[in-house]
Amino acid sequence: MMKHEHAAGACVPLATEVACVQDARVAYRPPFAPAKTAIVTASLRLARGASLGIVGPNGAGKTTLLRVLAGLIRPVSGDVRVLGHDPARERHRLMQRTGVLLSGARHFPERWTVADALRFTAAFYGPAARARIPALVETFGLSGKEKEQITTLSLGNRQRLSLAAVFVHDPDLVLLDEPTLALDAATVEAFATFLRARLRQGKSAIVTSHDHAALGRLVDDVLVIENGITRVPERPLDSYARLVVLTDRPVTAHLPPEVQVVDDRLEMPNDPRLMARVLDRLDAEGVEVVEMRTRSGVEAVAAGSKGGKQ
């Protein structure tokens, strides 16, 4: 799991740690244009076999933070280590062991087929990667589409291809920016199963997504970034998980204090005994439950983050 306490100063290489960002400040400095600070200060740590979600409003710095981890931007200050490498200096070595998806897509020539795109990507990593292609095609639901040209693929199938390309070299760490774009619920579920199996093998993942329900299926921990500043939730992620109950009428019954009531909507900690008490009380009052769903810790933490200004 992610360590919540951050040591001051530089990242100290640890055998159990795959990524460390310490007090990184990042600015885009395009030629002939004013510089723009994208991250004021960011820190994170990720242990081997762990997964971390990064949530925050548009423009908060989520994708920039992934770019820093991938070595595409050198921070103005601060320290970054990923799989033992300084990403900005040793990006090509890092990429041997890292899979990256930025802005939700990998791009290939439109007239290439699915098989062409995967073979080309695998060519960078040797025969083992090529041998992995059939299993990835199966995992990402691309069976039977190998000979289809990319230009004919639906948005969802393009996304599946992008994801398959990211995993073709069995990376130790994946940095995924909006991996669930255009994916249906069943594919998200299958992808979550695939990712969790990898975590059990000691692989790690950092994921950003605006689909917080899907993100909750993919990660065990979360980091909030707002206005270019990262923040670790105060409590363990599970403690934020909530149960949401919608009723057929506004609830006036006296309920335990942990239950928040707004008209016909109840929200409470995801505790089975508490839920049983509430349902008993509602039943006694003749109130019927219309809908009941869980709200993951990721959703709750993300909903608590404020709007960004960038």
Partner: protein
């Protein structure tokens, strides 16, 4: 290097396979390229005072050089006109990656145009050209522009929109085939010009042209490495 050449070969093979999915377009392209370049070669022969075969060969190698120069900045572009951020996610430094891709592309372009020239020559003059002469001229032409192509790749990495400059250079390259004289020693240092001069005077030594081509290539590869660092320092890989 072996791995990189395999990557390059995979890309070229994939592109070729994609072209052969449209056989009519492929064959028509070959025929029109041969006819158009030979026709332009007749004009080049008149303006340069060379034989028709030499004039035609000058336009063929100029076309090869222009094609490679155009292609190098787009080798990793995936449909876009400039190298995308994704090009930096492959597990190789960009200079080595583009170098390998450019080398295999140069072989593909050179072999294709040399074959079309040989067939056109056979149809028009009833004789095949000298293979060593053809291969040397084509090889020198492609080698001499590779460094310039790398320089444009480097510029596009950082500045993105340098197409108008690159277009002017392409036009200038093609115009060299029509130049009435290239009889100056410094011409050996100019990409493509040295190759066309050698083509017109094959008794001249090859090494000055090859040496300057190597210098251009070293400069181009250095520029790509420098641009890669600048892109990371400035965070401009994502800027479209």
């Amino acid at each position: 290097m072996k791995q990189l050449l395999y990557v390059a070969w995979t890309k070229i093979r994939t592109d070729l396979a994609e072209q052969t999915r449209y056989p009519l377009q492929f064959v028509t392209g070959l025929l029109t390229t041969g006819a158009m370049l030979w026709g332009l070669g007749i004009a080049a022969a008149r303006t340069s005072g060379e034989s028709t075969a030499a004039g035609a060969l000058a336009t063929f190698i100029a076309m090869g050089a222009v094609s490679l120069f155009y292609l190098i900045p787009r080798l990793l572009a995936g449909g876009k006109d400039h190298p995308p951020e994704e090009a930096m996610l492959y597990p190789f430094p960009l200079g080595r990656l583009v170098g390998a891709l450019a080398a295999v592309s140069a072989v593909q372009i050179g072999a294709g145009l040399a074959l079309i020239y040989a067939l056109a020559s056979l149809v028009v003059t009833r004789a095949l050209p000298d293979a060593a002469y053809l291969a040397t001229a084509m090889g020198l032409a492609l080698f001499s522009v590779a460094g310039a192509g790398m320089l444009v790749f480097a510029l596009k990495l950082v500045f993105r929109r340098v197409d108008s400059v690159a277009m002017l250079v392409q036009l200038a390259f093609f115009a060299l085939a029509f130049a009435p004289t290239l009889d100056r020693a410094w011409v050996a240092a100019v990409p493509l010009a040295g190759a066309i001069r050698w083509l017109r005077e094959p008794a001249l030594p090859v090494w000055p042209v090859a040496a300057f081509a190597l210098l251009w290539l070293v400069a181009g590869l250095w520029a790509v490495a420098r641009a890669e660092r600048a892109v990371v320092d400035r965070g401009v890989a994502a800027y479209g």
